[in-house]
Symmetry: C2
Subunit: 345 residues, 2 copies
């Protein structure tokens, strides 16, 4: 929880963000990231005001294993996008980051070209907290960036736990970066990631890695064909290139244009966005309900022993659940629903 340097009125934040004032945009994001009750209220009011101005950007998620070259890629592809006339917001979801470590995006020295570009806004991952909390803040930051006029949003994730799913669920297009060594088990994509990808970019296809890259491209292309056709109507593509040498970036941009045209026409673009909003609503509710339940004194007092009893087969899981629910119901008074989602939520 950082102390607020300056705190403005709802009008000031709103007008600042809508006029594209980068200082006020940054301060509004800090407000969203604060866990102070008063800040949360203010942030919610600002968010509601700017909501009609959101939704016009192309939202792209980017993931890949450590070492795949995400920072270099975002620097190169970001520069390419800016050269095409776009304005760019670069965000991250990294629940493992904290103030001392800093996320990849916090290391701006690795993104020399875009980190100080006047048409690019880079914001590191919110620090601390659960994935749910970090993802919520990034979602809301994305909306603020859109309201400030950025028409292209890149959301990076370092692939910790379920963070890819969280990012996938907030973007239009999900890009997976891979290394040119398919078949090598060390590559270790986590289960389900490849099947979420709208595109795979085999990075570092340079000099004597070209043969490996071609084999990888064929292997991933074939693997993608094994999956059912996606609801978007867009068939995931595989390309190879080099962010370092700026090779293959145009292909990715072409994918984005094709994807957008196709899904605007077939209606998937809007349907997906609406479903994402409803999913966000439901996720928030279930997250809060779960918090109310598991943080209640009655459940906390019995959780360890209930788990042990289930593990030791002393009580069937369903009966254990019923007992805990009864205990919770009896103890349920004022569960603090109104409290904001703080560091532990």
């Amino acid at each position: 929880m950082k102390p607020m340097r300056s705190r403005h009125s709802v009008d000031t934040y709103t007008e600042g963000v809508l006029s594209g004032d980068r200082v006020l945009l940054g301060q509004a994001i800090t407000l969203i990231e604060s866990s102070l009750d008063s800040d949360q209220e203010l942030a919610a009011a600002v968010l509601e005001r700017i909501l009609p101005a959101t939704g016009k950007a192309f939202r792209m998620g980017i993931t890949g294993v450590p070492g795949v070259g995400k920072s270099t890629f975002i620097d190169a592809f970001g520069s390419y996008l800016v050269a095409q006339g776009h304005t760019l917001g670069v965000l991250a979801v990294d629940p493992s980051s904290n103030l001392t470590q800093g996320s990849i995006l916090g290391d701006k020295t690795r993104m020399e070209r875009i980190s100080h570009h006047p048409r690019v806004f880079v914001r590191p991952s919110p620090s601390g907290g659960s994935l749910g909390g970090v993802a919520r803040k990034t979602r809301e930051t994305m909306l603020l960036c859109e309201a400030a006029g950025f028409d292209m949003i890149l959301v990076e994730t370092v692939g910790v736990g379920q963070s890819e799913t969280a990012v996938h669920d907030m973007v239009d297009f999900f890009l997976l970066l891979m290394l040119p060594n398919a078949g090598d088990e060390l590559q270790g994509i986590k289960k389900g990631i490849m099947e979420m990808a709208d595109g795979i970019f085999i990075n570092k296809a340079e000099a004597n890695a070209m043969d490996k890259a071609r084999i990888a491209q064929a292997a991933y292309s074939q693997a993608l064909r094994l999956f059912a056709p996606p609801a978007s109507g867009w068939h995931p593509q595989v390309a190879m290139g080099s962010a370092l040498n700026e090779v293959g970036l145009h292909t990715l941009y072409q994918w984005m244009l094709d994807f957008q045209q196709k899904t605007w026409q077939n209606g998937y673009w809007e349907i997906n966005r609406q479903e994402q909003s409803i999913q966000w609503l439901k996720d928030t509710i279930l997250h809060r309900l779960s918090h109310i339940f598991f943080e209640s004194p009655a459940v906390k007092a019995h959780w360890e022993q209930t788990q042990a009893a289930v593990t030791n087969k002393e009580i069937p899981p369903v009966k254990a659940a019923q007992q805990l629910l009864r205990l919770w119901q009896e103890g349920y008074r004022q569960p603090g629903i109104d409290k904001p989602e703080g560091q532990g939520a």
Copy 2:
């Protein structure tokens, strides 16, 4: 909700099941499937009593697209297992089934060899209800079968919605049946299924489908190598064969033995079972909390308009969630936690 034909004491059910009495086993399962409050209470008491006698079977999940030959496969592989000296319980999770349709397992004529075998117990999918309800009943039926002495449980799913995940989460080994036409998009495995498989069996590799089957085997083997090594330490295998001609069944059995030996030694077998129990506990709790919330009069009265407001960007999802939670909290009195999971749950 079927009327109970006969209703016994907890002792009668318990002793009947533990002694392997098939009539009482069938009646105990009917009790579990009933949605009458009194039946649910009785079922819970029986379940608690038989619990120490459960857990000794090898639990195998089986899935595959329609047309892959699941009934023929289960008939052939079940006969093979019985010939190896095993006793077999065959269950199903099929939320789409109902009394008139009947699930695949309901069509016992397609499983001529095992359906009336004295050492095989076949139970069709519980009818009606949500996936959560159907999965719970199948889990509990599995426990009853184990208590009755069956040492091999096959749980089939027809692959509707999230039913593969539900089955995967209740078994030790998950087998995916495929047709010999890899690369053909009509095969259409749903996202994430292949990555859950501990083994893939390419069925119908007969006569002039052999070439295709070999290509499929190579393609799936390569695709599986792209994924991270599983926590079990067992590397998923791909085999081809023909259930109709009883080819390849011995390989599958060998996989099961190898898998069991490996995971007993490295501890994964027990850890996975314990994690499945805790997951079942948590799932049950979240399912009930969700039911309590979304079925409350306050939330039901506002859900449609809240969804519309979110979809139309009149209100941010997080704020909408807060409003609904406040309405629910105000209206929360006696949410009926004690009620069993009925048809709507």
